[in-house]
Structure formats: C-alpha cells, structure tokens
Symmetry: C2
Amino acid sequence: MTMQMGGFFARLERVGLLTAPMAQALGSLALQQRRYEPRETVISRGEPVDEGFVVCSGWASRSISLGDGRQQVVNFMLPGDLFDLQIFAGGETDHTVTALTDLVIASVSRRDVLALLRDGSALSDGIWRSAAQEIAILREQIVRNGRRSATERVAHLLLELHARLLLVEEAGQDRFEMPIGQKHIADALGLSYVHLSRVFGQLERSRMILRERSVIIFPDPAALAEVAKFSPAYLFLQDTTSTR
Amino acid sequence: MTMQMGGFFARLERVGLLTAPMAQALGSLALQQRRYEPRETVISRGEPVDEGFVVCSGWASRSISLGDGRQQVVNFMLPGDLFDLQIFAGGETDHTVTALTDLVIASVSRRDVLALLRDGSALSDGIWRSAAQEIAILREQIVRNGRRSATERVAHLLLELHARLLLVEEAGQDRFEMPIGQKHIADALGLSYVHLSRVFGQLERSRMILRERSVIIFPDPAALAEVAKFSPAYLFLQDTTSTR
DNA sequence: CGTGACATTGAACAAAGTCAAAAGTGGTGG
DNA sequence: CCACCACTTTTGACTTTGTTCAATGTCACG
C-alpha cells in the first residue's frame, strides 16, 4: 500500500503534519486501492457516497454534465488530494468523477474517517485542512471563471496546477506535465476548446509559457503570475491555531 | 435567542432533524448574536476564522474582490444557513462576508462545534448535511457560471434562491422578495450589471418572471425551470444512510 | 422639490463561440 | 520503416453574446 501513497505523505509532510502517530493511524486504516484507466468512471452521478478517497497517482476530474453536451469540470484531483472525506451527510452524488489518466485511488470507509475525527486523531487536522483547501479551490474556481478574462483564466489555472503539483513533488520548479487534453481544461474554464487553443497559442507566442509535448514550462513564472493576477495564498491556508 | 432562530429551526425541521436532544444541544451552546447593517462587513479578508455562523435573518454574501474593481460573489447566505462551521483548519479567510440587508447572525465558537461533532451529538448530522449542501451549492454555481447562457444563469439563480427561501418559509409558493440590488446578482453570475438588467427585462417581457418592487414572481415556475434547466436535486441531498 | 442610488436603454465595440477544414500526433500493423 | 487510422490541436471566416460608455429614467426619502 505504501508504494502508491508517496504523494499523500509528501503532501502532509510539506504541511508539517506527518507525525509518528499519524503514520500509525494511516496504517491502521483499511485502505482499499483501486485502479482506473483514462475515461473510466470512479463515481457516477446518483451513486450514494459512502467513502472518502485519496489520489495515489494520476489525475481525475469531478464534472457535471448538462443534458445537451455541455459539461463543466468542477475541479481536478491530483496526486495526494484527499476528497469527499468530509461528506458524511449521506445522499447521492450530483456529479461524476472520472479518471483522466491511469489512476490509482485509495478509498477509506466513512466509518473509519468518522472515527478518526471523533478521536481527535493526529490525522484529523490534516483532514480538516484538506477539506478547507478543497473549498478554497472551489471558490477560486468561481472567481476565475466569473471575473477573469480567458487569458487570465488559463494562466491562473496553469499556475494553480503547478503549485499543487509542486507541493507533492510532482512538478519541477518551472514546469510540470499536463497529461490531459485541452478539452478538459476548456471544460474547467468554461471556454470552448477552440478558443482555449487560441489562448494557449497567444501565451506561447508571447513567451509566457512554452510547451514541449505535454510539458508546460514557465520561462518567467513571476511575469505569468502577474498576467494571471495569481496569488497562491488560497492554496496553502496557513495554520494559525492550535486548538486541538 | 430563540426569537431570531426561526429560520434555522424551520430548516432543520424540514430536513427532519429537529429532535428534542438537538434542541437541547442547541440551547446549550453559547450563541452570541450580532447585528449588521447593509454594506457592513461580517468577516474581512485576512481575518483568522475562529467561529461558525448561523444566519438568523437577512441576506449576506461571500465575495472575493480582485484589485481592480472586479468582484465576484461566491455565494449568498440566506436565513437559516449555517456557514463556516466546517472550517477548523485555522488559517485566514481569503474572502469577505458582507451584510446585504439588515442582518442578524449567531456565532458559535469552533470549540463548541468541535465538541458537538465529537460527541456525535444529534446536531452533528445537521452540521454535516449543511456543509454538504454548501459545497453542492458552490459546485452548482461553478456550472451555472461556466456553462450556462446569461438567461439560463439568471433564471437558475432566481429558482435556487426561491427554493432555498421556501425551505425556511421565507418565500411564497410562486414568489419571493429579493432585497438586494442587481449589482450583487451580476457579481454572483459573472455578468455586467448592464447586461443583467437587459436579461431581467427580457425575462419579464416574455412573462417568465414578474417584478413588483423587490418581489420576484414566477407566473409559471415549471416553464421557468425549463428555461433554466433547473433541477433542485442538489439543494436537498437526500439522506439515504443511517450510519451513526 | 431635489438628491442620490439604482435601473434601463442605445450605440459602438470587444470577447468568445461556432462551423468547417487542415495540420499535427501517436499508435498499430504490414 | 512506412502507411494508415483515430484523435487532438490549430487556423480561418463568420456569428453571437456580452461589455463599455454615456445618457436617461425611476423611485424612495429628506
């Protein structure tokens, strides 16, 4: 199991949360691992949710599809992301989670997560933190798509993905691999894929990004952040308390 | 205290959650009430979050403002809404909560909420449920602004607000009062207020809505839901479990 | 009345979408 | 190694949708 969990551990370490009791708590969970291929469905719309998940490797998306072909990607799940851990309200999903690449996911039963939270286990902080980050990312997604121009949106999303991957050591300082098609990016940004392609082209011609195969390179990250008006504060949500 | 809590109770009752032990748990919390006037700030950006809130009466918005005048309303908080209860991760807010009308909210300390959740108190289900609903609303906001036309967006938001108000008995079957300016709606939908005004006009001319002062009336709710492709499922997230 | 905030309208403009075709990419089997 | 396939990306021409700017209305309130 530990094999695939590198991203998860790396992430918690970064946030300064991987302590001995925690590793123990983690080990004590019956983590069930699953594998998916690109385009495979992880959670379908209407399915009851009973578990939380950890992305071990690969990318996934949560998307909602309107009947008529229109589709919106709500967010991307990257290696190390915890998701749906906080959903104990029962009920059915209103969305679909899909593997975008080869994907390995570990699932945790709701019961186990609840127990962890009840115990005030060492993991519970990490879980709360992660839930808060997920919400912050959703909010930023709303702002990005609601009030930014197409160019800003693209630059902003690229920087977010890069920052998140960097956190789990899946990206270089000035580059990262984006193993998904432009259609998915367009669906996340609320743009047509045609327009997205043009924006990519523009960004490349103006040397704000470079592309080599599926690798995105930032020749001048600061300049790009300027264009995107990107500030990564929402991703890291500093811990200012020690309530527990 | 109970005076202003009508909306909250009504909401919990609707969801079938207001039980005797719960009312007791509620009473045991030191709910601190606060009053705000329109435009007053409830939570400022950068402030550390230490409390959760319940809206007793009035409307509030959570918004994020880009430096240059652009502003995005992330969501609206209506009477009976619980919010930020799930944020135990510490950290600072990346957004601002503002009163849109006269507003009364009750605040609950993080410690008390945590204790409730730990005890598996009768309230904890309601809290989880509420958190899940908040997230579902955020997702729907993303889809609305990302993949719907201006007309669909407006109709969809009106229907959402109506459904939410209906749940706490703050709306009539076919109408509700919208005590806020079009600027706020526009900022929520990612539209200019000029265009929003045109869309409102269109909807009214085509008899999809009527307006009397600040009251919005739906002469034919089904037809409007059709236009908006609105399905309220995401708001009610049925309880299919009984894990606790 | 007059004032200020909010809402509406028109005209010119800009941004993004649609449609259709061409060019690139990668994988497969001969 | 090459030819072929399916798929994704890019490009061009044109349309639609939404924005901007500026003027005009409206309404509540002092």
